[in-house]
Symmetry: C2
Subunit: 214 residues, 2 copies
């Protein structure tokens, strides 16, 4: 544990390394080299070593890394050795899907409350959850000590919901609405927009004739 500001990209890759190590561990593999990790997640071996070096010395020269140990280290760095309760605003198609999304549960993210202000949705059962009125959200967040919120409401309602979450004590927000929302200092925010990813893809696709590959 040494450095100060760790690159965003390093954290993202750490998350991939961690998943890859879980898979190796399940297959009973004991030792792995930076080259094998690199191969498995699609980066360079030096990158893997540099990324890990931000957090300590986890390997053995001449040998590589112990899979179980490194898996635990990466999980610990990402704070995945605990489970994270989540508050979800929005019970439409996206919200409903997120409740069923296994990747969240597999990594310790548990949706604990679903909220909407649409009367036709309140009371609806999604998996083992019941959609609650939005005005109950602050109480539930405070009572359950939830720190992380998911915003899956229409764009026009996003800022309002974000404000309400922050007032309720939420410290980090994953925003699925395709609009920039503002948060005060100290609150972490990330946006996820699946169609942005598609647009990058179609841009590259069409420019492949003009410029060279990729």
């Amino acid at each position: 544990m040494k450095s100060f500001r760790i690159p965003e990209a390093t954290i993202t890759r750490l998350s991939f390394y961690s998943r890859f190590l879980v898979r190796l561990d399940r297959r009973g593999i004991v030792t792995v080299s930076s080259g094998e990790i690199a191969e498995g997640v699609g980066v360079s071996p030096a990158q893997v070593r540099k990324d890990l070096a931000y957090f300590g010395e986890f390997g053995t020269r001449g040998i590589g890394y112990n899979v179980k140990d490194l898996m635990h280290y990466t999980m610990k760095i990402l704070n995945l050795n605990q489970s994270w309760p989540l508050a979800l605003a929005g019970a439409g198609n996206l919200g409903t899907f997120l409740c069923t999304y296994r990747n969240f549960r597999d990594r310790g993210f548990i949706i604990t409350g679903v909220f909407d202000n649409d009367l036709t949705k309140i009371g609806k059962k999604i998996e083992d959850l019941t959609v609650q009125p939005l005005e109950d959200m602050p109480g539930v967040i405070k009572q359950s000590g939830i720190n992380v919120g998911l915003v899956a409401v229409p764009s026009r309602a996003a800022q309002e919901v974000v404000d309400l979450m922050i007032k309720s004590g939420i410290k980090a927000i994953l925003n699925f609405a395709s609009v920039a929302v503002s948060v005060p200092d100290g609150v972490k925010l990330r946006n996820v927009d699946m169609s942005v990813a598609l647009e990058v893809l179609t841009f590259r696709l069409a420019s492949r004739k003009a410029a060279r590959g990729n």
Copy 2:
């Protein structure tokens, strides 16, 4: 139109600029400055100007940019002045959600075929689509001239489905499975993993006590 290799990040931002401009245009706003765009999408004004400069000179000094014109330019750069048919593999929770995802349609991405090899899913109606057997996918892709594929199958099946798509003539793939898949040169690939975004968030959340904010 001048530069050669345009940064990934520039394309991503262009996609945000484009959305923001659509919104301005709907509100009847005629002119916008780089500063206002910057404010609206959360980047610096110089960044906005640099990004646009990769593709040409779209503004007027002393005035700013014409909203309608710049909107059209950005759409054209991203190849969104056409509609893109998509092939979707996987009709589970994620696949079903993607069929209903309005952000895709709004930007011209139309899911044209849904495929699965689960007999309990084949024949199921999702919106106006019917789930077809996976073995029919190559035929549909070729016949409809589909270039872009969405992979929403379980991780273990991802590589197999990707290979099938490529054999069928798909040139770009958006992979939602949380596993690295490999594609030959010339095929574009992007991965989307919503829980990675959450993990970056929880990392920052927990390290805020140790280091300084964000």
